[in-house]
Amino acid sequence: MSNPILETRNLTKIYGQNIIFKDINLKVNEGETIVIIGPSGTGKSTLLRCINLLTANEGGQVFLDGQEITAKNYNEDKVRQQIGMVFQNFLLFNHLTALDNVMIGLLKVKKMSKEQARQKAMEELKRVGLEDRASHYPGQLSGGQQQRVAIARALAMDPRVMLFDEPTSALDPELIGEVLGVMAQLARDHMTMLVVTHEMGFAREVADRIVFMEKGSIVEEGTPDELFYHPKNERTREFLWKITELYGKKEKEQSATA
Protein backbone atom coordinates (compact mmCIF):
# COMPACT_ATOMS: atom_id res chain seq x y z
CA MET A 1 0.00 0.00 0.00
CA SER A 2 1.48 3.36 -1.00
CA ASN A 3 1.76 6.14 1.55
CA PRO A 4 -1.46 7.73 2.74
CA ILE A 5 -2.22 11.08 1.18
CA LEU A 6 -3.39 12.46 4.51
CA GLU A 7 -2.30 11.37 7.93
CA THR A 8 -2.67 12.58 11.48
CA ARG A 9 -0.37 11.41 14.27
CA ASN A 10 -1.35 11.82 17.89
CA LEU A 11 -3.42 14.83 17.04
CA THR A 12 -4.70 16.48 20.22
CA LYS A 13 -7.00 19.43 20.82
CA ILE A 14 -7.53 20.98 24.24
CA TYR A 15 -9.76 23.97 24.82
CA GLY A 16 -9.36 25.51 28.25
CA GLN A 17 -9.97 22.66 30.67
CA ASN A 18 -11.64 20.40 28.14
CA ILE A 19 -9.90 17.75 26.10
CA ILE A 20 -11.75 17.82 22.80
CA PHE A 21 -9.80 14.91 21.36
CA LYS A 22 -6.54 13.18 22.19
CA ASP A 23 -3.98 11.23 20.19
CA ILE A 24 -6.00 10.81 17.05
CA ASN A 25 -4.23 8.67 14.48
CA LEU A 26 -5.93 8.63 11.15
CA LYS A 27 -4.69 7.51 7.74
CA VAL A 28 -6.47 8.41 4.53
CA ASN A 29 -5.42 6.92 1.20
CA GLU A 30 -5.74 8.66 -2.12
CA GLY A 31 -9.18 8.28 -3.64
CA GLU A 32 -10.72 6.99 -0.42
CA THR A 33 -13.94 8.28 1.07
CA ILE A 34 -13.81 8.20 4.85
CA VAL A 35 -16.95 8.96 6.83
CA ILE A 36 -16.64 10.00 10.46
CA ILE A 37 -19.66 9.35 12.64
CA GLY A 38 -20.39 9.77 16.31
CA PRO A 39 -22.47 11.66 18.85
CA SER A 40 -22.59 15.43 18.52
CA GLY A 41 -20.00 17.40 20.38
CA THR A 42 -17.29 14.76 20.21
CA GLY A 43 -14.95 17.01 18.32
CA LYS A 44 -15.48 15.65 14.81
CA SER A 45 -15.83 19.15 13.32
CA THR A 46 -12.89 20.39 15.34
CA LEU A 47 -10.84 17.50 14.00
CA LEU A 48 -11.54 18.58 10.43
CA ARG A 49 -10.58 22.14 11.27
CA CYS A 50 -7.33 21.02 12.82
CA ILE A 51 -6.56 19.10 9.66
CA ASN A 52 -6.86 22.16 7.43
CA LEU A 53 -5.21 24.32 10.06
CA LEU A 54 -8.17 26.61 10.63
CA THR A 55 -7.82 25.64 14.27
CA ALA A 56 -4.53 25.27 16.11
CA ASN A 57 -3.78 21.97 17.82
CA GLU A 58 -2.25 21.25 21.20
CA GLY A 59 -0.22 18.26 20.17
CA GLY A 60 0.43 15.90 17.29
CA GLN A 61 1.07 16.37 13.61
CA VAL A 62 -0.73 16.35 10.30
CA PHE A 63 0.90 15.15 7.09
CA LEU A 64 -0.26 15.89 3.58
CA ASP A 65 1.46 13.81 0.89
CA GLY A 66 4.25 13.05 3.31
CA GLN A 67 4.89 16.70 4.19
CA GLU A 68 4.23 17.85 7.73
CA ILE A 69 1.81 20.72 7.36
CA THR A 70 1.72 21.38 11.08
CA ALA A 71 5.42 22.27 11.00
CA LYS A 72 6.26 25.68 12.39
CA ASN A 73 6.84 27.75 9.30
CA TYR A 74 4.65 25.89 6.87
CA ASN A 75 2.52 28.22 4.79
CA GLU A 76 -1.05 27.74 6.03
CA ASP A 77 -2.63 29.47 3.07
CA LYS A 78 -0.89 27.13 0.64
CA VAL A 79 -2.17 24.16 2.61
CA ARG A 80 -5.73 25.32 2.27
CA GLN A 81 -5.39 25.47 -1.48
CA GLN A 82 -4.79 21.75 -1.36
CA ILE A 83 -7.34 20.81 1.25
CA GLY A 84 -10.86 21.97 0.44
CA MET A 85 -13.60 22.40 3.02
CA VAL A 86 -17.38 22.50 2.93
CA PHE A 87 -19.17 23.90 5.97
CA GLN A 88 -22.45 23.04 7.64
CA ASN A 89 -23.68 26.61 7.16
CA PHE A 90 -22.38 26.83 3.57
CA LEU A 91 -20.67 30.17 4.34
CA LEU A 92 -20.92 31.50 0.81
CA PHE A 93 -19.68 35.03 0.24
CA ASN A 94 -22.97 36.88 0.41
CA HIS A 95 -21.91 39.88 -1.61
CA LEU A 96 -20.89 37.80 -4.64
CA THR A 97 -22.86 35.87 -7.23
CA ALA A 98 -22.53 32.10 -7.38
CA LEU A 99 -20.06 32.40 -10.22
CA ASP A 100 -18.01 35.03 -8.42
CA ASN A 101 -17.99 32.90 -5.29
CA VAL A 102 -16.35 30.10 -7.25
CA MET A 103 -14.10 32.46 -9.18
CA ILE A 104 -12.70 34.56 -6.40
CA GLY A 105 -10.25 31.98 -5.14
CA LEU A 106 -9.01 31.42 -8.68
CA LEU A 107 -8.54 35.12 -9.27
CA LYS A 108 -7.08 36.25 -5.98
CA VAL A 109 -5.26 33.17 -4.73
CA LYS A 110 -4.32 31.26 -7.87
CA LYS A 111 -3.91 34.50 -9.81
CA MET A 112 -5.59 33.19 -12.94
CA SER A 113 -6.68 35.51 -15.71
CA LYS A 114 -10.34 36.50 -15.70
CA GLU A 115 -11.10 34.38 -18.73
CA GLN A 116 -9.41 31.28 -17.36
CA ALA A 117 -11.06 31.72 -13.98
CA ARG A 118 -14.49 32.19 -15.50
CA GLN A 119 -14.12 29.08 -17.62
CA LYS A 120 -12.96 26.92 -14.74
CA ALA A 121 -15.65 28.30 -12.45
CA MET A 122 -18.40 27.54 -14.96
CA GLU A 123 -17.03 24.00 -15.29
CA GLU A 124 -17.26 23.47 -11.57
CA LEU A 125 -20.75 24.93 -11.41
CA LYS A 126 -21.74 22.58 -14.20
CA ARG A 127 -20.26 19.73 -12.23
CA VAL A 128 -22.61 20.43 -9.36
CA GLY A 129 -25.51 21.10 -11.70
CA LEU A 130 -25.88 24.83 -11.16
CA GLU A 131 -24.55 26.49 -14.31
CA ASP A 132 -27.91 28.20 -14.84
CA ARG A 133 -27.71 29.87 -11.42
CA ALA A 134 -24.32 31.44 -12.02
CA SER A 135 -25.51 35.00 -11.72
CA HIS A 136 -27.68 34.48 -8.65
CA TYR A 137 -26.73 35.74 -5.22
CA PRO A 138 -26.65 33.37 -2.24
CA GLY A 139 -29.74 35.11 -0.85
CA GLN A 140 -31.61 34.01 -3.96
CA LEU A 141 -30.64 30.35 -3.73
CA SER A 142 -32.12 27.51 -1.71
CA GLY A 143 -30.03 25.83 0.98
CA GLY A 144 -29.26 22.86 -1.20
CA GLN A 145 -28.19 25.11 -4.07
CA GLN A 146 -26.02 27.19 -1.78
CA GLN A 147 -24.27 24.12 -0.48
CA ARG A 148 -23.64 22.87 -3.99
CA VAL A 149 -22.10 26.23 -4.90
CA ALA A 150 -19.97 25.91 -1.77
CA ILE A 151 -18.80 22.52 -3.01
CA ALA A 152 -18.00 23.99 -6.42
CA ARG A 153 -16.08 26.80 -4.73
CA ALA A 154 -13.95 24.32 -2.84
CA LEU A 155 -13.47 22.05 -5.87
CA ALA A 156 -12.36 24.94 -8.05
CA MET A 157 -9.10 25.13 -6.16
CA ASP A 158 -8.29 21.54 -7.33
CA PRO A 159 -7.66 20.24 -3.85
CA ARG A 160 -6.00 16.91 -3.11
CA VAL A 161 -8.43 16.26 -0.28
CA MET A 162 -11.97 17.47 0.40
CA LEU A 163 -13.29 17.87 3.94
CA PHE A 164 -17.04 17.95 4.56
CA ASP A 165 -18.25 19.20 7.95
CA GLU A 166 -21.84 17.98 8.37
CA PRO A 167 -22.71 19.29 4.92
CA THR A 168 -26.40 18.45 5.08
CA SER A 169 -27.19 19.10 8.73
CA ALA A 170 -28.54 22.58 8.06
CA LEU A 171 -30.70 21.57 5.12
CA ASP A 172 -34.40 20.89 4.83
CA PRO A 173 -34.94 17.16 4.35
CA GLU A 174 -35.99 17.40 0.71
CA LEU A 175 -32.83 19.29 -0.18
CA ILE A 176 -30.41 16.80 1.36
CA GLY A 177 -30.57 14.46 -1.60
CA GLU A 178 -29.20 16.89 -4.18
CA VAL A 179 -26.11 17.56 -2.06
CA LEU A 180 -25.45 13.93 -1.19
CA GLY A 181 -25.83 13.15 -4.89
CA VAL A 182 -23.02 15.54 -5.77
CA MET A 183 -20.86 14.09 -3.02
CA ALA A 184 -21.49 10.53 -4.15
CA GLN A 185 -20.47 11.44 -7.69
CA LEU A 186 -17.28 13.03 -6.36
CA ALA A 187 -16.53 9.79 -4.55
CA ARG A 188 -17.08 7.83 -7.74
CA ASP A 189 -14.66 10.22 -9.47
CA HIS A 190 -12.04 9.15 -6.93
CA MET A 191 -11.80 12.38 -4.95
CA THR A 192 -10.20 11.81 -1.56
CA MET A 193 -12.92 12.77 0.92
CA LEU A 194 -13.23 13.03 4.66
CA VAL A 195 -16.88 13.45 5.62
CA VAL A 196 -18.43 14.13 9.01
CA THR A 197 -22.13 13.36 8.83
CA HIS A 198 -25.18 11.80 10.43
CA GLU A 199 -26.41 10.50 7.08
CA MET A 200 -26.04 6.76 7.63
CA GLY A 201 -27.40 5.87 4.21
CA PHE A 202 -24.62 7.84 2.60
CA ALA A 203 -22.07 6.28 4.94
CA ARG A 204 -23.20 2.77 4.08
CA GLU A 205 -23.39 3.33 0.32
CA VAL A 206 -20.45 5.58 -0.40
CA ALA A 207 -17.82 5.24 2.32
CA ASP A 208 -14.75 3.11 1.81
CA ARG A 209 -14.17 3.28 5.54
CA ILE A 210 -16.19 4.49 8.49
CA VAL A 211 -14.63 5.92 11.62
CA PHE A 212 -16.67 6.01 14.83
CA MET A 213 -15.54 8.72 17.22
CA GLU A 214 -16.77 9.28 20.74
CA LYS A 215 -15.56 11.24 23.77
CA GLY A 216 -12.45 12.44 21.97
CA SER A 217 -11.08 9.22 20.57
CA ILE A 218 -11.65 6.75 17.76
CA VAL A 219 -13.68 3.87 19.11
CA GLU A 220 -13.65 1.74 16.00
CA GLU A 221 -13.00 1.99 12.30
CA GLY A 222 -13.63 -0.32 9.39
CA THR A 223 -15.58 -0.89 6.19
CA PRO A 224 -19.32 -0.17 6.23
CA ASP A 225 -20.03 -3.88 6.25
CA GLU A 226 -17.78 -4.44 9.22
CA LEU A 227 -19.19 -1.56 11.28
CA PHE A 228 -22.85 -1.99 10.49
CA TYR A 229 -23.10 -5.76 10.57
CA HIS A 230 -20.16 -6.94 12.64
CA PRO A 231 -19.23 -4.12 14.97
CA LYS A 232 -16.50 -5.17 17.38
CA ASN A 233 -17.28 -2.57 20.02
CA GLU A 234 -20.47 -2.48 22.09
CA ARG A 235 -20.70 1.30 21.87
CA THR A 236 -20.46 1.14 18.08
CA ARG A 237 -23.32 -1.32 17.97
CA GLU A 238 -25.44 0.81 20.32
CA PHE A 239 -24.81 4.01 18.42
CA LEU A 240 -25.49 2.60 14.98
CA TRP A 241 -28.70 0.92 15.97
CA LYS A 242 -29.96 4.05 17.72
CA ILE A 243 -29.27 6.11 14.63
CA THR A 244 -30.72 3.64 12.19
CA GLU A 245 -33.85 3.44 14.31
CA LEU A 246 -34.32 7.16 13.69
CA TYR A 247 -33.93 6.65 9.98
CA GLY A 248 -36.67 4.06 9.71
CA LYS A 249 -37.29 0.44 10.35
CA LYS A 250 -36.59 -0.34 6.69
CA GLU A 251 -32.87 -0.41 7.38
CA LYS A 252 -33.26 -2.96 10.17
CA GLU A 253 -35.46 -5.19 8.02
CA GLN A 254 -33.07 -5.04 5.07
CA SER A 255 -30.14 -6.06 7.20
CA ALA A 256 -32.12 -8.84 8.81
CA THR A 257 -32.59 -10.45 5.40
CA ALA A 258 -28.95 -9.73 4.38
Binding site: N52, L54, F87, N94, G105, K108, V109, Y137
Partner: protein, 226 residues
Protein backbone atom coordinates in the same frame (compact mmCIF):
# COMPACT_ATOMS: atom_id res chain seq x y z
CA UNK B 1 -43.80 87.21 6.60
CA UNK B 2 -42.98 88.87 3.30
CA UNK B 3 -40.34 91.05 4.88
CA UNK B 4 -38.67 87.98 6.23
CA UNK B 5 -38.79 86.51 2.76
CA UNK B 6 -37.17 89.63 1.26
CA UNK B 7 -34.58 89.62 4.01
CA UNK B 8 -33.87 85.99 3.33
CA UNK B 9 -33.37 86.53 -0.39
CA UNK B 10 -31.08 89.45 0.31
CA UNK B 11 -28.70 87.60 2.60
CA UNK B 12 -28.89 84.35 0.68
CA UNK B 13 -25.85 84.84 -1.59
CA UNK B 14 -23.68 85.49 1.44
CA UNK B 15 -25.12 82.53 3.25
CA UNK B 16 -24.46 80.35 0.24
CA UNK B 17 -20.75 81.12 0.40
CA UNK B 18 -20.77 79.98 3.97
CA UNK B 19 -22.81 76.92 3.08
CA UNK B 20 -20.19 76.00 0.52
CA UNK B 21 -17.52 75.95 3.16
CA UNK B 22 -19.79 73.95 5.44
CA UNK B 23 -20.31 71.31 2.76
CA UNK B 24 -16.59 71.21 2.06
CA UNK B 25 -15.80 70.72 5.73
CA UNK B 26 -18.39 67.96 5.90
CA UNK B 27 -17.01 66.14 2.88
CA UNK B 28 -13.43 66.37 4.10
CA UNK B 29 -14.28 65.36 7.64
CA UNK B 30 -16.41 62.48 6.47
CA UNK B 31 -13.73 61.08 4.17
CA UNK B 32 -10.84 61.46 6.58
CA UNK B 33 -13.08 60.20 9.36
CA UNK B 34 -13.95 57.16 7.28
CA UNK B 35 -10.30 56.24 6.82
CA UNK B 36 -9.62 56.77 10.51
CA UNK B 37 -12.74 54.93 11.60
CA UNK B 38 -12.12 52.00 9.28
CA UNK B 39 -8.53 51.69 10.46
CA UNK B 40 -9.55 51.93 14.08
CA UNK B 41 -12.30 49.32 13.86
CA UNK B 42 -10.09 46.95 11.86
CA UNK B 43 -7.33 47.41 14.41
CA UNK B 44 -9.81 46.81 17.18
CA UNK B 45 -11.05 43.58 15.63
CA UNK B 46 -7.96 42.05 14.03
CA UNK B 47 -4.78 43.62 15.35
CA UNK B 48 -2.53 42.77 18.27
CA UNK B 49 -2.88 44.15 21.80
CA UNK B 50 -0.91 47.32 21.19
CA UNK B 51 -2.79 48.56 18.14
CA UNK B 52 -6.04 47.38 19.59
CA UNK B 53 -5.45 49.39 22.76
CA UNK B 54 -4.55 52.44 20.73
CA UNK B 55 -7.72 52.10 18.69
CA UNK B 56 -9.92 51.70 21.75
CA UNK B 57 -8.24 54.68 23.42
CA UNK B 58 -8.82 56.85 20.38
CA UNK B 59 -12.46 55.83 20.07
CA UNK B 60 -13.27 56.27 23.76
CA UNK B 61 -11.62 59.68 23.99
CA UNK B 62 -13.16 61.17 20.89
CA UNK B 63 -16.62 59.81 21.57
CA UNK B 64 -16.46 60.58 25.27
CA UNK B 65 -15.72 64.29 25.00
CA UNK B 66 -17.47 67.19 23.24
CA UNK B 67 -16.41 68.20 19.73
CA UNK B 68 -16.07 71.81 20.82
CA UNK B 69 -13.64 70.80 23.51
CA UNK B 70 -11.61 68.76 21.03
CA UNK B 71 -11.58 71.76 18.72
CA UNK B 72 -10.31 74.08 21.44
CA UNK B 73 -7.74 71.58 22.61
CA UNK B 74 -6.29 71.43 19.10
CA UNK B 75 -6.59 75.14 18.34
CA UNK B 76 -5.72 76.69 21.72
CA UNK B 77 -4.09 73.86 23.58
CA UNK B 78 -1.56 72.44 21.12
CA UNK B 79 0.27 75.75 20.58
CA UNK B 80 1.20 75.41 24.26
CA UNK B 81 3.22 72.37 23.19
CA UNK B 82 4.66 74.24 20.27
CA UNK B 83 2.31 72.72 17.68
CA UNK B 84 0.35 75.36 15.78
CA UNK B 85 -1.99 74.66 12.90
CA UNK B 86 -4.05 77.03 10.78
CA UNK B 87 -7.73 77.49 11.65
CA UNK B 88 -8.86 75.46 8.70
CA UNK B 89 -6.53 72.62 9.57
CA UNK B 90 -7.63 72.63 13.20
CA UNK B 91 -11.25 72.42 12.17
CA UNK B 92 -10.45 69.63 9.74
CA UNK B 93 -8.52 67.67 12.36
CA UNK B 94 -11.14 68.03 15.05
CA UNK B 95 -14.01 67.11 12.73
CA UNK B 96 -12.14 64.15 11.24
CA UNK B 97 -10.97 62.72 14.52
CA UNK B 98 -14.41 63.13 16.02
CA UNK B 99 -16.26 61.65 13.07
CA UNK B 100 -13.75 58.81 12.80
CA UNK B 101 -14.48 57.66 16.33
CA UNK B 102 -18.21 57.47 15.67
CA UNK B 103 -17.74 55.80 12.31
CA UNK B 104 -15.52 53.22 13.97
CA UNK B 105 -18.41 52.24 16.22
CA UNK B 106 -20.81 51.81 13.30
CA UNK B 107 -18.32 49.62 11.48
CA UNK B 108 -17.47 47.58 14.53
CA UNK B 109 -21.04 46.35 14.80
CA UNK B 110 -21.14 45.06 11.26
CA UNK B 111 -17.61 43.66 11.36
CA UNK B 112 -18.67 41.56 14.32
CA UNK B 113 -21.81 40.41 12.58
CA UNK B 114 -19.98 39.36 9.43
CA UNK B 115 -16.74 38.40 11.07
CA UNK B 116 -15.84 34.91 12.17
CA UNK B 117 -17.80 32.75 9.75
CA UNK B 118 -16.81 34.60 6.62
CA UNK B 119 -13.21 34.72 7.79
CA UNK B 120 -13.27 30.93 8.05
CA UNK B 121 -14.83 30.58 4.61
CA UNK B 122 -12.25 32.84 2.99
CA UNK B 123 -9.35 31.10 4.65
CA UNK B 124 -10.72 27.70 3.71
CA UNK B 125 -9.96 28.40 0.04
CA UNK B 126 -6.43 29.49 0.80
CA UNK B 127 -6.88 33.25 1.19
CA UNK B 128 -4.68 34.97 3.71
CA UNK B 129 -6.22 36.96 6.57
CA UNK B 130 -5.54 40.21 4.82
CA UNK B 131 -7.03 39.05 1.51
CA UNK B 132 -10.10 37.72 3.28
CA UNK B 133 -10.61 41.00 5.13
CA UNK B 134 -10.24 42.97 1.91
CA UNK B 135 -12.22 40.84 -0.57
CA UNK B 136 -14.73 39.07 1.65
CA UNK B 137 -15.35 40.75 4.99
CA UNK B 138 -15.13 44.46 4.19
CA UNK B 139 -17.41 44.40 1.11
CA UNK B 140 -20.09 42.79 3.24
CA UNK B 141 -19.48 44.70 6.46
CA UNK B 142 -19.50 48.07 4.72
CA UNK B 143 -22.79 47.34 2.99
CA UNK B 144 -24.32 46.10 6.22
CA UNK B 145 -23.22 49.25 8.01
CA UNK B 146 -24.86 51.64 5.56
CA UNK B 147 -28.21 52.15 7.31
CA UNK B 148 -26.63 52.94 10.67
CA UNK B 149 -23.73 54.83 9.08
CA UNK B 150 -26.10 57.14 7.20
CA UNK B 151 -26.64 58.95 10.46
CA UNK B 152 -23.07 60.16 10.36
CA UNK B 153 -23.01 62.50 7.32
CA UNK B 154 -26.02 64.42 8.62
CA UNK B 155 -24.62 64.48 12.15
CA UNK B 156 -21.29 65.77 10.87
CA UNK B 157 -22.96 68.45 8.77
CA UNK B 158 -24.64 69.77 11.87
CA UNK B 159 -21.45 69.49 13.91
CA UNK B 160 -19.51 71.75 11.55
CA UNK B 161 -21.52 74.67 12.88
CA UNK B 162 -19.35 75.00 15.98
CA UNK B 163 -16.14 75.76 14.10
CA UNK B 164 -17.25 79.36 13.69
CA UNK B 165 -15.98 79.79 17.22
CA UNK B 166 -12.43 79.62 15.90
CA UNK B 167 -13.36 81.96 13.06
CA UNK B 168 -13.58 79.48 10.21
CA UNK B 169 -15.75 81.20 7.57
CA UNK B 170 -18.52 78.65 7.24
CA UNK B 171 -22.26 79.19 7.40
CA UNK B 172 -22.55 80.01 11.09
CA UNK B 173 -19.68 82.49 10.86
CA UNK B 174 -21.45 84.26 8.00
CA UNK B 175 -24.61 84.29 10.09
CA UNK B 176 -22.83 85.93 12.96
CA UNK B 177 -21.45 88.75 10.86
CA UNK B 178 -24.78 89.31 9.11
CA UNK B 179 -26.59 89.34 12.44
CA UNK B 180 -24.17 91.97 13.70
CA UNK B 181 -24.65 94.10 10.58
CA UNK B 182 -28.43 93.88 10.42
CA UNK B 183 -29.11 93.99 14.15
CA UNK B 184 -31.57 91.16 13.57
CA UNK B 185 -30.13 88.09 15.24
CA UNK B 186 -33.33 86.09 15.39
CA UNK B 187 -34.19 86.64 11.74
CA UNK B 188 -30.67 85.83 10.61
CA UNK B 189 -30.37 82.66 12.60
CA UNK B 190 -33.78 81.50 11.49
CA UNK B 191 -32.67 82.05 7.90
CA UNK B 192 -29.55 80.04 8.63
CA UNK B 193 -31.61 77.30 10.22
CA UNK B 194 -33.59 77.06 6.98
CA UNK B 195 -30.42 76.70 4.93
CA UNK B 196 -29.22 73.91 7.22
CA UNK B 197 -32.58 72.21 6.90
CA UNK B 198 -32.29 72.33 3.14
CA UNK B 199 -28.79 70.87 3.22
CA UNK B 200 -29.83 68.11 5.60
CA UNK B 201 -32.80 67.24 3.42
CA UNK B 202 -30.63 67.02 0.30
CA UNK B 203 -27.97 64.98 2.06
CA UNK B 204 -30.61 62.62 3.36
CA UNK B 205 -32.01 62.13 -0.15
CA UNK B 206 -28.55 61.32 -1.52
CA UNK B 207 -27.98 58.81 1.27
CA UNK B 208 -31.26 57.05 0.67
CA UNK B 209 -30.40 56.78 -3.02
CA UNK B 210 -27.02 55.28 -2.10
CA UNK B 211 -28.67 52.75 0.15
CA UNK B 212 -30.98 51.59 -2.61
CA UNK B 213 -28.23 51.49 -5.23
CA UNK B 214 -25.96 49.27 -3.18
CA UNK B 215 -28.53 46.66 -2.24
CA UNK B 216 -27.71 43.03 -2.84
CA UNK B 217 -30.66 40.69 -3.31
CA UNK B 218 -31.25 38.66 -0.22
CA UNK B 219 -28.33 40.15 1.64
CA UNK B 220 -29.93 42.39 4.25
CA UNK B 221 -31.97 39.50 5.48
CA UNK B 222 -28.86 37.37 5.82
CA UNK B 223 -27.22 40.21 7.65
CA UNK B 224 -30.11 40.63 10.01
CA UNK B 225 -30.15 36.90 10.80
CA UNK B 226 -26.53 37.13 11.87
Amino acid sequence: MTEFFEFFIRILPDLMKGAGVTLLLTAEGLTAGFILGLSASLARTYANKFWRGLAVGYIEIFRGTPLLMQLFLIYYGLPGLGITFSRGLCAFLALSLNSGAYQAEYLRGSLLAIGDDQMMAGRSIGMSRVKTIWYVILPQALRLAIPAWSNEPVSLLKSTAVVFLIAVPELMAKAKSIAAQTYDPIGTYIAVALVYLAMVYLLDAVLRWMERASRIPGFEMEGKKA
